[in-house]
């Protein structure tokens, strides 16, 4: 065998080894669980804390796919995810009405805030109502960055514009990034624009941003997270047992305590407030 043949055969062997080695590391399918979730739960670091606990307790291997709530529900509708952790209540209701999900349970909430440059060109600082603030931004024609990605935050933002009676889409001062929350905050910081963000992601990124919270505390700015199990009756390949285990885990007492404590050491205040077992109405919806 000459040198080039040897090289060829060693490549062949190496490739086979590499591929089989990688395939071996794939866990058995029945023990894996696909969690489709919003970016805020990953970007805030909450899932990095919760998932290892769940994996250890249940023995499931969790594949966390962090996308926007819109995409997460689209995955659920196609049976490509087992369980969802999302924050887009209106879209969730539609999802449930279609029969795509079962056992939708309230997990936690935090709130959205309107952030912008300290100079505040539209003078919205301290405005009590989010609709009022949006009207001022529109009137001043100040740059507003929208997620534009059908995420829970984007859905909330569209609802707020609608509530304020403003057709923001297509306006010169209204730009869509099509990116996740963290990246959109960075764009807003760079362009000195306003944006709507969940508090958790904002706090996690605050140190690098130079954006300030200008409007907060409006009941309309509530940000509510639900866990939804994908309907196995519709998609037989869905891991229903794993999904139920994850749902039970999220609303369990121990995890609810972890959620309530999460972020306190780093930010001085919790990023999420546990709500398991409560009625959504009690949150002021």
């Amino acid at each position: 065998m000459n040198q080039w043949q040897r090289l060829f055969f060693s490549l062949l062997i190496a490739a086979t080894l590499a591929v089989t080695g990688i395939c071996d590391s794939a866990a058995a399918a029945s023990k894996t669980l696909i969690l489709a979730t919003t970016t805020s739960t990953q970007d805030s670091g909450l899932l990095d804390v919760l998932i290892p606990v769940f994996e250890k307790e249940s023995g499931y291997f969790v594949k966390t796919i962090a996308v926007g709530s819109g995409q997460a529900m689209a995955m659920g509708e196609k049976g490509e995810a087992d369980v969802l952790l999302v924050h887009s209540p209106d879209a969730e209701k539609k999802f449930m009405d279609k029969g795509a999900g079962v056992n939708r349970r309230l997990v936690m909430h935090n709130d959205f805030v309107i952030v912008g440059p300290a100079a505040d060109p539209a003078k919205i600082r301290g405005t009590k109502s989010s609709a009022e603030a949006f009207k001022k931004i529109a009137k001043a024609g100040s740059l507003f960055l929208s997620r534009g990605d059908n995420s829970g935050t984007h859905a909330k933002e569209k609802g707020l514009w609608k509530g304020a009676g403003i057709a923001a889409d297509g306006q010169k001062w209204y730009q869509q990034t099509g990116l996740g929350m963290g990246q959109t905050l960075n764009v807003a910081a760079e362009k000195k624009g306003y944006t709507l963000t969940d508090r958790a992601t904002y706090l996690a990124l605050k140190k690098t941003l130079g954006l300030e919270i200008l409007v907060e505390g409006d009941a309309k700015l509530l940000n509510i997270y639900h866990v939804i199990e994908v309907n196995r009756a519709k998609w037989p390949k869905v891991n229903a047992a794993g999904a139920k285990a994850f749902g039970d885990f999220m609303v369990g007492k121990k995890v609810q305590e972890i959620i309530g404590r999460f972020g306190v050491d780093k930010f001085g205040a919790p990023l999420f407030f546990p709500d398991a077992g409560k009625k959504p109405e009690s949150l002021g919806l």
């Binding site: 000459n2 080039w4 043949q5 490549l11 062949l12 190496a14 490739a15 590499a18 591929v19 080695g21 990688i22 395939c23 590391s25 794939a26 399918a29 696909i34 970016t39 990953q42 970007d43 670091g45 990095d48 998932i51 291997f61 594949k63 966390t64 796919i65 962090a66 196609k78 049976g79 490509e80 996740g180 929350m181 963290g182 990246q183 905050l185 960075n186 996690a204 990124l205 140190k207 690098t208 941003l209 998609w235 390949k237």
Partner: protein, 232 residues
């Protein structure tokens, strides 16, 4: 500027302390992209050589297609591989979406046309009479092919580097078919995207530097082989 320095310092400290997570991510990047490159070499060099040496109607069209494939956007590959490997997709029974194996497949699809295109060009670039000469000396067809590949090894190694460079640096396909799952399918590029989104720019810069370092090490090795084998 400060940030870049912080990033460099972070990269140095992560490397010096052999941070377990970062090492695992780096190793997975190497494993996935390395396997994908090896597969693309097998398919690309054999397919490219066959294509270069054969003559048939429609050959030009096929070569154009291969050359177009060299510019195959990773996100497009990622999207199609995802759709095929969805649980309820045509290849769903394989149950490999969101696994490293799916990433290898996607990256091999990206790298194969690159290797194949460069193979076609390098074989065709050999002096046309060389083939006749080899055959005239009584070589069998198989021996001729081996000799031609051997003659073209310099540009072929460039093809290896281009293929590997194409896949180790891509993020679109890896994030779509791998899902950026912590400790399982998170590679250097997807981790960089995520840490940027989290505002951890120093960590993102550190991961980028580690990626560059890794690419440099691999390419340095390949270049050494290539230059040592310089035909006289």
């Amino acid at each position: 500027m400060e940030l870049i320095l912080e990033g460099i310092a972070k990269a140095a400290s992560l490397l010096a302390s052999l941070d377990r997570e970062v090492m695992a991510i780096t190793w997975l990047s190497l494993k996935v992209s390395g396997s994908a490159t090896l597969i693309s070499l097998l398919l690309g060099i054999s397919g490219g050589t066959a294509l270069a040496l054969s003559d048939f109607p429609g050959k030009r069209l096929l070569v154009s297609l291969v050359n177009t494939g060299m510019a195959l956007p990773p996100v497009v590959v990622g999207l199609f591989v995802s759709i095929f490997f969805w649980r309820n997709g045509p290849l769903g029974f394989a149950e490999i979406l969101y696994t490293p194996a799916a990433m290898v497949i996607a990256q091999a699809i990206i790298a194969t046309p690159i290797v194949m295109g460069i193979t076609v060009a390098s074989i065709q670039n050999l002096p046309p009479n060389l083939r006749l000469q080899i055959l005239a000396l009584g070589a069998t067809r198989g021996q001729m092919v081996r000799l031609l590949v051997r003659e073209a090894r310099l540009p072929l190694l460039a093809g290896v580097m281009a293929g590997f460079g194409g896949v180790i640096s891509e993020v679109g396909a890896s994030i779509m078919v791998g899902g950026n799952i912590k400790g399982y399918t998170r590679v250097l590029t997807t981790a960089t995207v995520m840490e940027t989104g989290r505002g951890n720019f120093d960590l993102a810069i550190a991961l980028s530097l580690i990626l560059l370092l890794l690419c440099f090490a691999i390419n340095y090795l390949l270049t050494r082989i290539q230059q040592r084998e310089r035909p006289r």
